[in-house]
Structure formats: C-alpha cells, structure tokens
C-alpha cells in the first residue's frame, strides 16, 4: 500500500513539474512576467542607435518602444541581463551600450584620461620641487651676500678706525 502511495505522489509531482515547464500559460510563467521596472533596469544601460544620446528606457519613439518590448520578451524567455545586452550588441553594434567595451582601441578611452591626470600631477610636483630648490638657493645666496656685505663693513670700519687714529 505504502509503495503504491509513493508511486502515486511521485506521479502527481512529476506531472506538476512537466505542466509547469511546458504550458506557457501556467501560473509559474505568469508569476515571472517581467515588470516595466525589470525592463527599464536593462533599457537604461542601453542607447538606441537611431535616437542619439537618449537612453532606451526614456526614449519616446516607436522604435525604442519595440526594443523595450523585445527586452521584455527575452526576459520572459529567461534570458539574463548580460545575454540580452550581448544579443543587442551582436545585432546593432557596440554603440547600443552606454560605455564602449574594454577591448582593442576602446582601452585608450579608459587609459588616457587617468594617465594624463597622473602626468599633470607629476609635472606639478616636479615644478614645485624645482621652485622650492630655486627659492632655497636664492635665499642662501641672499644670506651669503648679506654676510659678505657685513664682513666688508667690518673691514671698512677697521680701516676707517685706523685712518682716524693716524690722523689724530
């Protein structure tokens, strides 16, 4: 009896699983219907190649509306965010992405600005050090000049004193 029950439960469970995965109108599938927010979460990372510089989630044209519906369809089919993006890149080129992919010439895009910033900072640092050295050098030379002047004054005073003594 127990074995029969086991078989019965097993059969019902298997039937439910098969129904759930094969019937498109099943309750399982309806629960997974993507919302507008799910679609927009992906669409906002993409740009339509026709409407320049307008993110896909806010573009009001019919073409962009169709694209959003395509994203919804792909999500319904169980595609991941990355798969959908790759699909659009394959269909329409890398310009649909909000940023160029990090490969080939595009690497320059990411490397050049920080490299120039660092070079600028290094140049400033070097300029500062050389200016400070110049300032210190000129400070030393001014002090030397002052010392030389005071030494000269000392000798001049001595000579002056000697002359005065002799004249007296």
């Amino acid at each position: 009896m127990k074995t029969e029950k086991k078989w019965l439960y097993g059969f019902i469970l298997a039937a439910l699983v098969i129904i759930a995965f094969t019937n498109p109108g099943s309750a399982f599938a309806q629960d997974n219907t993507p919302t507008d927010n799910d679609v927009n979460a992906i669409a906002r990372q993409m740009f339509c190649p026709v409407c320049e510089n307008t993110p896909l989630d806010v573009c009001p044209t019919e073409a962009c509306k169709d694209w959003r519906e395509l994203i919804r369809l792909k999500l319904t089919e169980g595609w991941t965010e990355q798969q959908i993006k790759t699909y659009f890149v394959e269909q329409y080129g890398a310009r649909v992405l909000a940023e160029p992919p990090m490969q080939g010439l595009n690497l320059l895009m990411y490397i050049l600005p920080p490299a120039l910033m660092l070079a600028g900072a290094a140049f400033l640092g070097k300029a500062f050090l050389s200016m400070r050295q110049n300032a210190e050098r000129s400070k030393i030379s001014i002090e030397n000049d002052k010392a030389a002047e005071s030494a000269e004054d000392k000798y001049a005073n001595l000579i002056e004193d000697e002359i005065n003594k002799r004249e007296a």
């Binding site: 507008d36 993110p55 806010v58 160029p100 895009m109 500062f128 300032a135």
Partner: protein, 684 residues
C-alpha cells in the same frame, strides 16, 4: 527685396571687419595711429550694420515671409509673436547671425573703453575681435545664408538660391514648418543667448592676451583689464548651462537635468577651462606667477569656445562623415587649427618674458591650492574632451561607432568634483606665499567639527548609508561651514571695529571687497547646487506601471492614482493627451498633477511634458509614457522621486547674485576727493 538688402548689409559688415584687421596691423607696423583709429571705427560700424541685418531677419520672421527658406524652416503662422522673434536663433544660419551680432556688440563695447594707458593693446584687440567676427560673418555669407529664397523652375522643382536662377519664378509656401517643439520652452529661448554671450565675452580676454603676447607687455595689466569681462563671461556661460539643464528637466522627460550629451559637454568645456583661468589669474595678480599657464588657459578657453560651436554646428557629432559633408565643418576645423598654431607660436616666442616673479615655496599656500584647483578642473576637462572625441576617433579608425554615456563621465568626474568642493573650503583659509598644516588646522578645526556633527546627524537621523553620499555630504558641510565662518569672522571683526550692527557690517563687507565676498557667495551657491546633485544622483528612485482608471502606483511615501485622460486639439496645431493624477503623500492628499504628451502636427514631433510636484525637500516627477488611444482605460506612467533637486535651482539663483557682486564695479574714491578739494579751493 528686403532680404537682398539684409544680405548686402551683412556683406558690408564682412568687408569692414576684414578692413579693420588690415588697417590695425598696418597702423601698428607703421606707427600711424590714424590707421589704428580707422580700424577701431570700422569695428564699431559693424555693430549697427549687423543690428540692421538681424532686424531685417526678425522682420521677415514676424511677417511670415515664407519665400525665404530660413523663415520657412523655423517658423509658422500659428506660432506666437515672441516665438517668431526668438526663432532667430532656432536654426543654424539665424543662430550664426545672432552670434555675429553679439560678437560685434561686445567688440564695439570694448573699443569704447579708455585706452590712454593701454594704447599699444588696441590694434591687436581690434585684430583678434575682427578676425573672430569676420569668420562668423563669412560662414553666414558663404555657407549658411539665411536670406536665400525659394524659386520654382519650369520643370516644377523648387530650389533655394540667393538670386533668381535663369528661367525660374519666385515661390512662396503658404505656411512654414514651425520651430522644433522641443525649443518652445522659456529655458530654451533664453539658453542660447546666454551661452553665446558667455562665448563672445571670453573672446575679449583672449584678444587682450594675444595683444599682450604680441606687444611684449606681459605683466598683469591685461589680466586686470579683462577681470570683469572674464567674470561676466563666466556668469553668462553658467546661466546658459543651468538654463539648458532646467530645459532638459522640464521638456526632455527623463527625470534629470544633465545627460552628459556631447552637445551639453560642448558648452561645459569652455566653462571648465574658463573657471580654471578665473582662479589662476588671481595668482598672477597677487604673486606675479604662472603667467605662461594663464596664457595657455585663455588660449584653450577661446579654442573651446570655437570648438564648442563647431561641435554643435558642424554635424560632426552625428557622424564624422556628416562633418565632411557639412558646409561649415571644415571651415571651423581650419579656423581652430590656425588660431591654435598662431597662439602657440606667440606663446613660445614670449615664453621667457612670461617667467614667474616669485617661487612656489609651500604646498599649502593659496597659490599652490589654486594650482591644485586648476589640475582638477583640467582633469575634468580632459575627461570631457576625450569622451566627446573618442567616438569620432573610433569611427574614423575602426569604422565602429561607440557611445560614451553617463556611467563613464560620472565615474571619472565624481571624485574630482568632490575634491574640488573640499578644496573650495580649504583654499580661502590658506595665505598667499606660505601656509602650514598648523595654520590651516587652526582656521579649519571649528568648521570641521561642526561638519562632523552635521554628518553624524545626517547618518543617524536621516538614515543615510550610501558611502558616496556620506563623502559628498561631508564635503558640502565642511565647505559650507568654512565659508559661512569666513563671513562671520569678517563681519564680527568689522562690527566690533566700526561699532556697527552685524547685518550692516556684513553688507558693507561686500562693498569693501566685492571680488572676494562675491566669490564666497558663488562658493556657497555651488554647495547648494552640490546638495541638489547629490540628492538626485544618489537618492533618485523610480517606478513604472500601467494603470486602469482609479488604480494606483506607490513610490516611497507617495501614492499616485490615475483619474482621467483627456485628448484634444489646441489652437496652435497641437494634439494634447493630458492625464489627471491624484497624489498622496503618507496617506494625505497633496494635489493633482497633469503629465501630458503634445503632438505637433506641423513638425510631426511628440513632446513629453512631465507633471511635477516640487518642494524644497523633493520633486515628484510623473511622465505619461503611453495610453490606450480609444478607450482611455489604461495608461502607462513613469514616476520619479527626485530628492533635494530644487536646491540645484536655488543655488543657481544665488550664483547669479554672487557673480553680480563679484563683477560689480568698485567705487573709485579718488575723483570725489579731487573734486571736493577743488571745490574747497574754489570756495577759498
């Protein structure tokens, strides 16, 4: 006929500006001042002439003369008068005429100043201003003529030409296409004139810089003369950028004010370099340092002014191929190239004369911190420049178009902007020449403590956990407390010394040193704007849903209920779909909003107008995305919650005030003294 007259007058102003260039150079070379004076007068004459041309174009616009192709393109009978007038800058050729008119007015204004002490600058200021003017007037005359008319040939084709082609008859369409609906917004009406004013004002400091390089008078005289021009240029450019942002917020319907669009960046780049120049030039005035760097900055600012106009006018942004086919693109390219080569050659020629009069000895001195400020501004500029240029380079070398969108710019510039805000607080505390950690710490510890207390309140009371927001809030709190503390210290000291009340002391403080305290006001305004930016960038939330009548959608504390949708035609050739939405906040009814979609029949273009509930705390921003056209039973709405965004607009108003204080002419006590003495002597 009147169009021909307008064209003729414009041609005359082109000839005059070319004449002004040669007369000024000849006068300078031969030391014949009458030629220089003649060039000055020629330049002055361009203003009334271009005013007549612009007036004629406006007359053609308001009288619906659609046989002129430009008028047909930008206006229509149903448009109100004010829009017909402002359509002058709604199309390519009209905007170039408008640019030329502003340039001639500024160039003329500068020639009216007293030149007694700076007579050697005059010919070169005339040359630079006239070359710039001649370039823009030439673009209109040879490539983008707004006076071209329609002609119908015998085989029925309609062509555009300035003069009647053989075998054709005049043709006039019954109505025009009308202005692009996106441009029919108060922000967009004022936005281009403000940007252009900023652009042309920056030509004046550049003209003086070039005059200083050519004449060898490379002391700080040219920076002192152009100080006010620079602040005014900066103010106009700032207003232009802000109005552009407001327009985007109100009209483009994506819930934001700045999309890092290349057109926006084209106007932002001269602002970045100009702001760096505005700070750096103070080092030259106070310490006689970085003269060569200031020259580089003003040359770059001018180049960016022309480059910005080039980007938006040449079609290069849509494609490098469109640029090659564009009538004016290559001309712009050559002009920028020639300007840069000539300016750089002059800079190299005078390099030795531009040597600093002092040395940088302390990394915490004000000049060092200003230099750091310059590094940050120029870094942001490099990010922007490269971001705009890279898609063109990619298309040129690989044939593949790429998009450089907001994520790149936000990631690259965010930390730099935060560092700039902190620096804005520290730099005014440091002294010219030398500062130490100890002196800075002594001045900053009180505001820094207040900032930490404020930040703890934000974290624990406001429940803010986003680390970037916390860093941002610390930066704005720290800098705002320091700036306010600076105001307090100075006003308090003055009130004690002069025995005035504190408010009066504060008021008089502005009169005493307008540049400094105007600058502090601008710093405070930037802080307010930063609060708005942090609010929107870090805390914006959104949702979208399709609602049947009576259904609701919730976003945070807000609940919106879709009541109704009305679809009707307006008198000015629009079809409107206007929804009525009830808004509740925490269960309390707070009002109704009416997001709508306008469809313009003439241009066959839709326009999304959001419904916005705006308070100092936040904006609720609703867009009508879609609707059922027959039953009106269902409509899709996108709802944004934009915290603190209003601070951005209030900050903008404060910035205008601050700039006006900084640029306001100082009272000169000398003439009054002399006249009172003379009066006493006369009385004796």
């Amino acid at each position: 006929m009147i169009a021909d007259f307008g064209y003729g007058i414009f041609l005359l102003s082109f000839i005059l500006s070319i004449y002004a260039v040669f007369a000024a150079i000849y006068g300078y070379q031969t030391n014949k001042y009458t030629w220089v004076e003649s060039s000055r007068l020629a330049m002055q004459l361009t203003f009334p002439l271009i005013t007549i041309t612009s007036g004629i174009l406006v007359y053609l616009l308001v009288t619906d003369q659609y046989h002129v192709s430009f008028i047909y393109e930008v206006t229509s009978r149903s448009m109100p008068l004010y829009l017909k007038i402002t359509s002058l800058w709604g199309g390519q050729s009209g905007s170039l005429v408008f640019w030329s008119w502003l340039m001639s007015s500024f160039a003329t204004a500068v020639t009216f100043r007293k030149w007694d002490r700076d007579r050697e600058f005059l010919p070169w200021v005339v040359v630079v201003s006239s070359v710039t003017l001649a370039f823009f007037v030439g673009l209109v005359i040879f490539f983008e003529n707004p006076f071209e008319k329609f002609w119908q040939t015998f085989n029925g084709d309609v062509v555009t030409a300035m003069f009647q082609p053989a075998g054709s008859v005049p043709f006039s369409p019954p109505d025009g296409k009308g202005l692009n609906p996106l441009l029919r917004h108060p922000g967009m009406i004022i936005h281009p004139p403000m940007l252009y004013l900023g652009f042309v004002s920056f030509v004046i400091p550049f003209a003086f810089a070039i005059a200083a390089l050519i004449t060898g008078r490379t002391d700080d005289r040219w920076t002192r003369i152009t100080r006010r021009w620079t602040i005014v240029a900066w103010l106009f450019l700032s207003i232009g950028l802000i109005l552009g942002g407001r327009w985007a917020y109100d009209v483009l319907g994506w819930g934001g004010y700045w999309g890092w669009d290349p057109v926006e960046i084209a106007a932002f780049m001269p602002w970045l370099v100009g702001t760096a120049f505005l700070h750096s030039v103070m080092i030259q005035e106070k310490r006689g340092m970085f003269k060569e760097w200031n020259m580089i900055l003003i040359i770059l600012t001018y180049a960016m002014v022309i480059f910005g106009t080039f980007l938006t006018r040449s079609g290069v942004l849509s494609s490098v191929h469109a640029f090659a086919q564009s009538a004016i693109g290559p001309s712009f390219f050559i002009f920028i190239g020639v300007t840069l080569v000539v300016s750089t050659a002059l800079l190299i020629y005078r390099w030795k004369d531009l040597r600093s009069e002092a040395e940088l000895t302390s990394m915490l001195s004000r000049e060092a911190l200003f230099l750091l400020n310059n590094l940050l501004f120029i870094s942001i500029y490099i990010v922007c420049f490269w971001g705009v240029l890279f898609p063109l380079i990619s298309e040129l070398f690989t044939g593949q178009k790429v998009t450089v969108g907001p994520p790149f710019y936000e990631r690259a510039t965010g930390p730099l902007f935060a560092a700039l805000v902190v620096l804005m607080g520290i730099a005014p505390l440091s002294a010219w020449g030398h500062s130490t950690i100890k002196t800075l710490g002594k001045a900053a510890w009180k505001p820094a403590t207040a900032a930490v207390i404020g930040l703890l309140a934000i974290i624990f009371v406001g429940k803010v956990t986003n680390i970037y927001a916390i860093i941002g809030f610390f930066a704005v709190l720290f800098t705002s407390f320091i700036t306010l503390y600076e105001f307090w210290r100075a006003a308090y000291a003055r009130s004690r010394a002069q025995k005035e009340n504190l408010v009066l002391s504060l008021w008089r403080l502005f009169g005493k040193n307008r540049r400094r305290y105007g600058g502090y006001l601008i710093h405070l305004s930037i802080i307010l704007m930063a609060v708005g930016i942090i609010g929107l960038e870090m805390f914006q939330t959104e949702t979208q849903g399709t609602l049947a009548q009576g259904e609701s959608l919730t976003l945070g504390e807000y609940k919106i209920t879709y009541n109704d949708l009305a679809i009707f035609d307006s008198n000015d050739n629009r079809n409107l779909a206007r929804a009525t939405i009830s808004v509740e906040k925490n269960g309390q009814f707070v009002g109704e909003l009416h997001p709508r979609r306008d469809y313009f029949y003439e241009s066959q273009q839709p326009m999304t107008i959001p419904g916005v509930r705006s308070t100092i705390q936040d904006d609720l921003y609703i867009i009508l995305v879609d609707w059922q056209p027959i039953t009106t039973e269902g409509a899709t709405f996108k709802v944004y919650h934009n915290p603190l965004v209003n601070w951005l607009w209030w900050g903008s108003i404060m910035m205008i005030l601050g700039s006006m204080v900084a640029a306001w002419p100082e009272k000169d006590p000398e003439p009054r003294k002399v006249s009172s003495n003379a009066a006493l002597a006369a009385a004796d």
